[in-house]
């Protein structure tokens, strides 16, 4: 397993912009179920709240497990289940080999650069979520602020503002266009944001900015610029409500009771249908 850490597939390089202080160490501020520390050249041990992570230590979460690390500059990293995360003190370099992560970098800490084999993201104080699933997906979601994505070898960035999401194949050679994700629903159901899981709320500034982004989306919904697509159901049946034709017809116009036979009840008794 350890060799996996040495060859990270998905690498997050958070580089301080100019005068920003490097990441020296982080404390484990939340550990749920199976969380292990892999100190450099040492055997693995269970993580506990309050543990200090430094050097080239890796953090691994197991199934149904989560962890939170808070750096000295208040940068917060939350790990989802089945995730492998590491960083090297002295720089602002973080690596995610597998799993999902929430990264909240305060604006005052300068910018950061997030790099993968094919994509580089430049952020300037923002809250984002990532997922790397080998052979499956890279998902990048901006909760507040914005990030600029560059495809390797290309200079033109793609801006991903709050409420937008990039989904791409880890081996993809092209950046996919971002799509709009329903922030309110996402945040309300996300374990990493603290709304539906084991973590507490993010810092008040980030919470405020996320709330503002949600409100902006809501306003766009009110105006009809964003559409939470629906199916109007007017009868029983499949997803569209009108595919199971016969059943619908039974309720709508009752072919089993032809109109000429269902008078107002003055005729002879008739057995239905």
């Amino acid at each position: 397993m350890k060799t996996t850490f040495l060859i990270p597939v998905f690498s997050l390089l958070a580089l301080a912009a100019g005068q920003a202080d490097p990441l020296k160490s982080a404390k484990i501020t939340q550990a749920v179920n199976e969380v292990k520390l892999f100190p450099d050249a040492a055997s693995a041990r269970p993580a506990a709240i309050g543990d200090t992570v430094a050097g080239s230590t890796s953090v691994q979460t197991g199934r149904r497990s989560r962890a939170e690390l808070t750096f000295t500059d208040d940068t917060v990293t939350r790990l989802g289940q089945n995730s492998v995360f590491s960083f090297r003190s002295g720089g602002r370099e973080m690596e995610l080999s597998e799993g999902s992560i929430l990264l909240q970098v305060p604006k005052t800490n300068g910018g950061a650069t997030i790099r993968t084999a094919t994509v580089t993201a430049a952020i300037t104080g923002t809250t984002v979520m990532f997922e790397y699933s080998a052979g499956k997906w890279i998902k990048l979601i901006t909760l507040e602020g914005k990030q600029k994505l560059f495809i390797k070898g290309q200079k033109t960035p793609m801006e991903v503002p709050a409420g937008m999401m990039i989904i791409m194949n880890p081996d993809g050679k092209l950046l996919q266009n971002p799509v709009t994700v329903d922030l309110a629903r996402l945040v309300a159901t996300s374990a990493l944001t603290g709304k539906n899981g084991n973590f507490g709320p993010l810092n008040p500034k980030a919470e405020s900015l996320i709330a503002a982004a949600i409100e902006q989306q809501k306003e766009q919904k009110r105006n009809g610029e964003l559409i939470p697509t629906f199916v109007i159901v007017t009868g029983p049946g499949g997803r569209a409500g009108d595919e199971s034709i016969l059943a619908r017809s039974l309720t709508d116009f009752r072919p089993y009771n032809p109109p000429n036979l269902i008078g107002p009840g003055t005729g002879p008794p008739q057995e239905g249908p």
């Binding site: 997906w137 709009t180 629903r185 996402l186 159901t189 899981g197 049946g237 009840g265 239905g272």
Partner: protein, 331 residues
């Protein structure tokens, strides 16, 4: 009104799924998402085109529900649907109503709908639909059903995306195959009605794998021919869809409707009362999408109609099951 509403019982248990811990030991990813993802496919531009989600991935329980919002960019396309079903029923419509006669039947359906934006958060809801029913039993009644409707849909983001709608409908049922719908005057065998339908709909559970919605609606006949069939309808709809695999889904649906007729029923000279029917339909459908915009499905439905008409003259029960294929086109 003797039929209990037990059909709805399974739905009462489903909301508990919404409160399930995201760290559930149950693996919610029974299927594999297709990596050949095209973001354009997620950019729904129609109100009535279903809900879209990002492809399922192992981190979804941490990231949260990723519902993709459509962006309105000019007039949306017209959506047309074609489908054909081969079914069996144990109770075919027949002039000889004393018989519970089973029959195979074929159903063809064509529909078109369009939902352009009218104003801030309001969308038009225009559509038409034609259905043809053919039975293999000579005693069964073949018929066609034609519906046109026009209305509006309004989303209410401040009420958690509650949807309200209102539409005008015109329906024509042709039991005489020689008649031309909307052109030939209806003869005594035919049925037509103009009505106004209003309703509200709410999504109760919404995840990439599960979807539960409920709707309440009321329809008021403006006119009907024969006039004895003028009625108001008050209906409850429940729909639960489970995405078993990426392209395989199961839908459990339930509908309860009260028809409040404006005519009386009873035995002339003895007693009469306003006719009321209570209809329930429960159905289960398994649908497979071999490719985008095409689907193959199998379904089974049970319907029960209970009327206060004397001697059970308008009561009926029917099972219907079969296979169907459908396609959706946009232009």
């Amino acid at each position: 009104m003797k039929t209990p509403g037990l059909f709805a019982l399974p739905f009462l248990l489903l909301p508990t799924l919404a409160a399930a811990d995201v760290l559930s030991s149950l693996n919610p990813y029974l299927g594999n998402s297709d990596p050949d993802y095209n973001p354009q496919d997620l950019q729904a531009r129609e109100v009535d085109s279903g809900r879209n989600f990002a492809p399922a991935s192992p981190g979804d329980s941490d990231l949260g529900v990723q519902e993709i919002l459509g962006e309105y960019k000019g007039l949306p396309p017209i959506r047309a649907q074609l489908s054909t079903d081969f079914l069996w029923t144990d109770n075919a419509p027949s002039a000889a109503r004393q018989l519970d006669e089973p029959s195979f039947l074929w159903v063809g359906r064509a529909s078109a709908s369009w939902q352009p934006r009218l104003g801030a958060g309001i969308f038009a809801d225009l559509g038409m639909e034609a259905q043809i029913f053919r039975f293999d039993q000579s005693n069964a009644t073949d018929f066609e059903n034609y519906v046109v409707y026009a209305g509006a849909v309004k989303m209410l983001p401040d009420l958690d995306d509650l949807l309200i709608f209102g539409r005008f409908e015109y329906q024509f049922l042709n039991f005489d195959q020689a008649a031309v719908p909307f052109v030939t005057p209806a003869n005594s065998d035919d049925y037509s009605a103009a009505r106004v339908r209003i309703g509200a709909q709410k999504v109760l559970l919404n995840t990439p794998r599960q979807h539960l919605s409920a709707g309440l609606s009321a329809a008021f006949d403006l006119t009907a021919d024969p006039s004895a069939l003028e009625r108001n309808e008050y209906a409850l709809d429940l729909h639960y869809t489970l995405l078993i695999l990426d392209k395989l889904s199961a839908t459990l649906s339930y509908r309860a409707a009260i028809w409040d007729f404006r005519s009386d029923t009873g035995v002339v000279g003895f007693y009469t009362e306003t006719r009321r029917d209570f209809n329930q339909v429960v159905g289960l459908e398994l649908s497979y999408e071999p490719c985008k915009n095409y689907r193959i499905y199998t379904s089974v439905f049970f319907s029960d109609s209970d009327s206060n008409t004397p001697f059970g003259a308008n009561d009926s029960k029917a099972w219907t099951a079969g296979l169907g294929v459908g396609a959706t086109f946009e232009f």
